[in-house]
Amino acid sequence: MQIDRSVEKDVVVTSVNGRLDSSSSHKLDEYLAVIPPDSRALLLDFAGLTYISSAGLRVVLKATKLARAGGISLAVCGLSPQVHEVFDVSGFSTLIPIHPDRAAALTALA
């Protein structure tokens, strides 16, 4: 699982590629444990995410709670149909804004 991070207009974009499961999710958890200062919003770009389990969802929820506590928006983009269904079934679709791609997400977060 590979994680890349960039900043676009004060939005911290974290791209996750590969599988987010019990063995890899702690790595993402470390990345998301601290919100960089002066961040306006956080975007998780899942365009390269091929699989997510409940362990991955827990990390996303934890990051969402942290962002919320800090008064910062968190959104996700690029979900595959299967990952989107997992978000729907777990109720995460109503908690976390989902955008089709990074461009749409950055526009919405502007």
Binding site: S22, S53, R58, V89, L95
Partner: protein
């Protein structure tokens, strides 16, 4: 085409890499479509992780078994283990309507598998937890 796979593993996290390699090879060979493929990975992942992490509090050695049969239009899957008796249908459902602040971190794995499977049933027999699921190949009606 009828094809099936049986994988047995001991209750060690280090066994999971081999488990998924063998499962992926089976899924490649039998050309299972993306949705049931994803859901089989998820069901196996959640079941095996729960068994290994929570099923053997006394630290004993145990055996977990995965059996999947490709029946043309679906996968019939049997997941079993000799961990402490655990009926997933007894597990409390997470509150999926709770706000961000109120959502608890746990409880999602069983819920996901129950909802994504087309059929889901549990038996405790012969000292084993036995979970049956069906993963259909057709697109679900929305």
């Amino acid at each position: 085409m009828i094809a099936e796979i049986e994988i047995r593993l001991s209750n060690q996290l280090s066994e999971m890499d081999r488990l998924f390699e063998e499962l992926e090879a089976f899924l490649d060979k039998t050309e299972v479509p993306p949705r049931p493929r994803f859901n089989l990975n998820l069901a196996v992942d959640e079941f095996v992780s729960n068994a290994i992490n929570h099923g053997y509090p006394d630290g004993r050695a145990g055996e977990i078994a995965i059996h999947a049969v490709h029946r043309g239009d679906r996968l019939d899957v049997t997941l079993s283990d000799d961990s402490d008796a655990f009926d997933p249908l007894d597990a409390p459902e997470p509150d999926i309507d709770a706000s961000i602040e109120d959502r608890r971190i746990g409880g999602l794995g069983v819920h996901l598998v129950r909802k994504l499977a087309d059929a889901f049933s549990y038996r405790h027999e012969g000292g084993r937890n036995v979970l049956f699921l069906t993963l259909k190949f057709a697109t679900p009606a929305t």
